[in-house]
């Protein structure tokens, strides 16, 4: 059949005139919009490189051995470091893990095993809700719950507050990892006569472990960077010095528990908290220390994140063979 028109069908009549131009316009719009999305992606990533680059640049200049090993000098006097904040960060993060991981993992076991019961649904709903609560509100809550009754600020209170922020991540990741374990594993264990709890602990948990650890890492990374919940719980403490506490404790022959109690029961600083406070000071050396703290914090957060992603990829490839 050669090209040629006889009569046009109804649709062809109704089609817009100048269809060639119309199609060209449609394709032009297509090109413009698709390019636009690419440009917007680049735009959104610019701050990433800017921040990372700038923090590297300013922070590196302020880093020194003293930064890590010394306590802060009085305001306005140059020198000193943020050892108090580093130790505080460690103590608070460890406490937060202690408070968040056991209940979080256990609750995840329940939600994974009985997802359709009222309590299972409530767990998932609650963790979703909890993840949306502003961190400063959590700080207020712990202030009322712990600081007021105790009568003083403490690393303990800070640890509890941060644990509430870690909890949703831990529950969610653990639950998802548990769900990924094939049913056959669980049924095999039960068929051998193992009770529920042994199945969960000895079979399911190890199988899901690597994924769960990834969840822990991401939660820890978030915990280490939190500031707002510590504002009225741990408060900050430029004199926080574990070595000193331990030393004094040994000299006065105090028991291990007493020493531990002293470590967690006083106000403490953390890297992000000290970063913030220093940034509000008019002294340039304090601001320098903010940048250095920012560098340490950022490298820590990004490293953990990268490591967690790489770990996930590695495990995934391994499983796929």
């Amino acid at each position: 059949m050669s090209a040629g028109t006889v009569s046009l069908s109804r649709f062809q009549q109704l089609m817009a005139q100048n269809q060639a131009a119309r199609i060209a316009r449609r394709k032009a719009l297509n090109g413009v919009m698709l390019t636009l999305t690419g440009l917007l992606t680049v735009l959104a990533l610019i701050p990433l490189f800017w921040i990372v680059g700038y923090v590297l640049y300013k922070g590196a200049a302020a880093l020194s051995i003293a930064f890590f090993t010394q306590l802060p000098t009085p305001m306005g006097i140059p020198g000193g470091g943020v050892r108090n904040a580093i130790e505080g960060t460690i103590v608070i993060t460890v406490l937060a893990c202690l408070f968040a991981i056991p209940p979080g993992v256990l609750a995840a076991f329940y939600a994974a095993r009985y997802p359709n019961t009222p309590l299972g649904v409530a767990v998932r709903f609650s963790t979703d809700v909890l993840s949306g609560v502003p961190s400063i509100v959590i700080g207020l809550f712990i202030y009322v719950l712990v600081v007021q009754p105790q009568g003083h600020y403490s690393a303990l209170a800070g640890g509890i507050a941060v644990s509430l922020l870690m909890l949703p991540t831990i529950v969610r990741t653990t639950e998802e990892m548990l769900k990924l374990v094939p049913h056959s594993l669980r049924e095999g264990s039960l068929a051998l006569g193992a009770p529920e709890w042994k199945t969960s602990v000895s079979v399911l948990f190890p199988a899901a472990l690597s994924g769960i650890i990834t969840g822990f890492l991401l939660a820890i990374s978030r915990a280490a960077g939190e500031t707002a919940p510590l504002l009225f719980t741990a408060l900050g403490n430029e004199r926080y010095d574990i070595a000193d506490i331990v030393h004094n404790g040994m000299v006065q022959k105090q028991g291990a528990f007493t020493i531990l109690a002293r470590i967690i029961n006083q106000p403490a600083d953390s890297l992000p908290l000290t970063l913030w406070k220093n940034s509000q000071q008019p002294f340039p050396e304090r601001i320098q220390q903010s940048w250095a703290a920012a560098l340490v914090l950022m490298v820590l957060a990004l490293l953990i994140n990268v490591f967690a992603r790489v770990w996930v990829e590695y495990r995934r490839r391994k499983l796929q063979g």
């Binding site: 921040i51 209940p103 609750a107 609650s126 979703d128 400063i136 969960s200 504002l231 913030w276």
Partner: protein, 335 residues
């Protein structure tokens, strides 16, 4: 051995209980139930405690504490508190942040989910996640010393000279931006940078969940790629995309440190974006540690309660929307 003279058989649960105790399951079951209940209780606890703590100010000021019409007067010295300026500041900065963040996040999600080559997808996802991994206080630090002077201040000047002179918008864009750049505009801009990763990640997942036969149906009719995305995919995933936006809004509303460091923390009476201000979160962060009088503390607690309730409602709405897309996707029978 129980003697059962009546013919009622032992109830089901007592039989199960005996079985469980024997195997060590009961302690385990008990443990995980308690842990689960704990999580639920925390939410209730937050609400309850904050409510109790603000009872003083609730009884003293009632609704006028939050009403926009009451006399805006946050006066710790005379123990007279009215929180509307903070609510306004929170809403203004968050909405402004969303106006920027929603289209950009949509663009990113469309690009990553539909357009970019396969090999680029994972690196892009990583990069966007890195943005989310940077602690808020570092955003604040960079915001304060770099972003405010370099970007916010010039932009504010331009906006002030253009939109600030326009008849309707002069309220919103009037008043000179401070030399430091510390302003609600700065907070809005930083907030948008911070919520883009969250919104775009969820939106991307929503798009990826849309079954591919919808795409094919549109393309088979002769639609261009963009027409397929705009006319078929986005309407299909609309509720999920809205949910993603609301999740982002929730984050913006509650963001504390970055906002505190760039917003100027002042009770500026002007409603303009270009002037410094307060948000609910930033006033708590700024004033709580130094609040002396009991009623001041209670007022701040009430602000915290208000913030909690707003983000709670938003979060629930957002989750419902995101789930509704997953439920609408018809059951795919895997061949």
């Amino acid at each position: 051995m129980e003697t059962r003279l009546n013919s009622t058989p032992p109830s089901n649960w007592s039989r199960r209980l005996q079985k469980r105790i024997g195997h060590g399951d009961l302690p385990w079951q008990g443990l995980i139930v308690i842990a689960s209940a704990l999580v639920m209780l925390i939410i209730l606890g937050i609400a309850a405690f904050l409510w109790r703590q603000s009872s003083g100010t609730i009884t003293k000021f009632g609704w006028s504490f939050v009403a926009p019409t009451a006399d805006p007067n946050w006066d710790p010295i005379n123990d007279n508190f009215q929180a509307w300026p903070f609510i306004y500041g929170t809403i203004l900065t968050s909405v402004a942040a969303m106006i920027l963040a929603v289209p950009i996040s949509l663009g990113i999600a469309v690009f990553v989910a539909e357009l970019c080559p396969e090999w680029l997808r994972t690196p892009l996802n990583w990069l966007v996640e890195m943005l989310a991994a940077i602690p808020s206080v570092i955003y604040g630090l960079w915001g304060l010393f770099v972003f405010l002077p370099v970007v916010t201040m010039p932009v504010g000047k331009v906006l002030g000279n253009t939109l600030g002179k326009a008849p309707l918008l002069s309220q919103l864009f009037g008043g000179p931006i401070p030399e430091s750049g510390a302003s609600r505009l700065g907070a809005a801009l930083i907030l948008s940078i911070m919520v883009i990763p969250t919104i775009s990640a969820v939106t991307r997942d929503v798009l990826l969940a849309i079954p591919s036969h919808q795409r094919e149906a549109a393309l088979a009719l002769g639609a261009t790629r963009w027409e397929m995305i705009w006319q078929v995919l986005l309407p299909y995933g609309l509720s999920g995309i809205l949910g993603a936006d609301l999740i982002g809004l929730g984050r913006a509303l509650g963001e504390t440190m970055a906002v505190t460091m760039v917003i100027g923390n002042s009770l500026d009476p002007s409603p303009s974006l270009l002037r410094p201000g307060y948000t609910m979160a930033s006033v708590i962060a700024n004033e709580f540690a130094e609040a002396v009088s009991k009623i001041h503390v209670q007022a701040l607690m009430e602000v915290g309660l208000a913030l909690f309730l707003i983000t709670l409602a938003l979060n629930i709405l957002a989750r419902l929307l995101v789930w509704s897309v997953a439920r609408r996707t018809p059951q795919e029978v895997r061949a």
